[in-house]
Amino acid sequence: MTTTAHDQAPAGLEGGRLPWRVGDLVFYALTAAASLATVGLVVWLSYKVVAQASGAIQKFGLSFIWTVAWDPVKQNFGALDFIYGTALTAFIALLIATPVSIAIALFLTELTPRWIRGPVGTLVELLAAIPSVILGLWGILVFGPWIAQHLEPFLERRLGFIPIFSGDPSQAGMLPAALVLTLMIVPITSSLCRELFSRVPRDLSDGALALGATRWETIRGVSIPYAGPGIVAAVLLGLGRAFGEAIAVTQVIGAGSGFPTSLFEPADTLASRIASEYQGAVSGLQIDSILYLAAILLVISLITNVAAQAVVRRFERSRGKIA
């Protein structure tokens, strides 16, 4: 329960707020300044990132977003290749991560005795603590080769008729990138879902069980609908993480371009293209175009984040929680 100092009038001083001393004013000013500075920083950052891209925005306008091109020689740039790469890798990662995260969350809240939940839950969350550069290192030297030697040939044999699983195996490509992203999203989404499921009121699920439903039917009929919007928010937050990941992705995605139809082929996301080209871009227009990519990435992340927050706030309000 949240109480703030200024809500409560101490006994003996009813009918008015506590008088403010000089120290209080200074302190208030300090904390307010910190908050103002923080909000100001976010605003400044958003403005600056977009302003830095203004050279390219002026040259290409909004059509940059749907242009397929990245030619430093002909000085023609467009973002669609990377929006495609970002969307596809994030989508595949989400496709795998969402059911797996829900399953893990359910495992931890419904299926295990209490003494297992702690350690296993911590282990899953520790996956989130692994720095992305280390996941990328492992991806280049261990996971990528394994994918090229075992997973991709297997997928090609069994599912090769589907375009996204066709083609020659490659150590670097969208599939390793999507799988690495999955490893990053799962701990985030599963720990959020775990919190949601643990808050499902006991009497609701007990009631269903008393009516003869199996555990799974209770979960499907009670827990998941109850936690529904929260799960959506958790998925959105995972998506935001996937969009913004630059380092691990650039290590395993192979810096390709174009619109590869197969997941085996190299590609690039917005974040990974920025990471690989920014330091060495030599023409002003190329630098500005990379900054334009950064602005697009920022906008996408902001939208995803705000959407997740909006879902959470509506969800909590409908559950009667204090915002």
Partner: protein, 292 residues
């Protein structure tokens, strides 16, 4: 709550039980898979990194082409950059949290919380670009710029953690202090904050564990550095995540070994900090909420 639809038919009971069991197995497998992946990643790092551990590794700076070196300079650089970032982020994060829990009206508090969550979601590489545009352009790279970038990532985490523990402080504590005539600021600093130091430390340690491994912001602010242990924070300093990033793409087995060993050092630090922070958090929560 959506309508709850379960038809109890004994004829379908066996089928439902089978579905139940299958899904339970699937859920268990998923959890096992996650834990296994964790084990594989950490195992790879431990095995490959551990096999090339040597004293040289910790005492020598980065070498030249074909000359094996170590990560002494990167360890020092990382420690300095993360340390300064913490010194910047903790006061700001704590002050913001105090504002939110002690002074802000409901509307403003919600607004600031939204902004903090937004800040948390800004990709690290965009933060790097921002700090590059503000602090590096025209001036050159520096460890201080790197610290500023990392502190931008840390502030929302510390603010949120501090805010959560401040919310757990019983209102009666504040009331008692105010009733005794203690001024607001002394109440917060002297009565409220000391009870939540554990939570603040936890939040800080978790934030440190997170930014210790951040590479993208440092690529823009502190990546062209000397091959020597250097304490001058007005210059770019080598860091462990950037070292791992550079070595990971190399063909030279020596450099790959350096990458693995650096990864081992980093991951040990991150995991130990995370586990300690969680243990600390569990303990301080128990203290605050009276063992619940």
């Amino acid at each position: 709550m959506s309508s709850f639809d379960v038809t109890v038919r004994s004829a379908g009971l066996r089928r439902r039980r089978i579905v139940q069991r299958v899904l339970a197995i699937v859920a268990t497998l998923c959890a096992l898979a996650a834990v296994t992946m964790l084990g594989i990643v950490i195992g790879s790092v431990a095995v490959k990194g551990g096999s090339s551990l040597s004293l040289d590794f910790f005492t020598k700076p980065r070498g030249l082409y074909g000359v094996p070196g170590g990560i002494a300079d990167a360890i020092v650089g990382s420690a300095l950059i993360v340390g300064i970032a913490t010194l910047i982020a903790v006061p700001i994060g704590v002050l913001v949290a105090i504002y939110l829990s002690e002074f802000a009206s409901k509307g403003i508090a919600t607004f600031v919380r939204v902004v903090l969550d937004v800040m948390n979601g800004i990709p690290a590489i965009v933060v790097g670009i921002f700090v590059f545009g503000v602090l590096v352009t025209g001036r050159g790279q520096s460890a201080l710029a790197g610290s500023c970038a990392l502190s931008i990532l840390m502030v929302p985490m510390i603010a949120r953690a501090t805010q959560e523990v401040l919310a757990l402080v019983p209102g009666g504590l504040r009331e008692a202090s105010l009733a005794l005539g203690v001024s607001r600021w002394r109440t917060v600093l002297g009565v409220v904050l000391p009870t939540v130091t554990g939570g603040i430390v936890t939040g800080t340690v978790l934030a440190v564990a997170r930014v210790a491994g951040e590479t993208a912001p440092l690529l823009f602010t502190s990546s062209i550095a000397a091959n020597a242990v250097n304490l001058d924070v007005s210059q770019a300093l080598p860091t462990i995540p950037v070292a791992i990033f550079v070595y990971s793409e190399s063909a030279d087995p020596h450099e790959q070994a350096l990458a693995w060993t650096s990864a081992l050092v980093l991951i040990s630090f991150v995991l130990v900090s995370s586990v300690m922070a969680r243990a600390l958090s569990a303990r301080s929560r128990r203290k605050l909420t009276g063992g619940h």
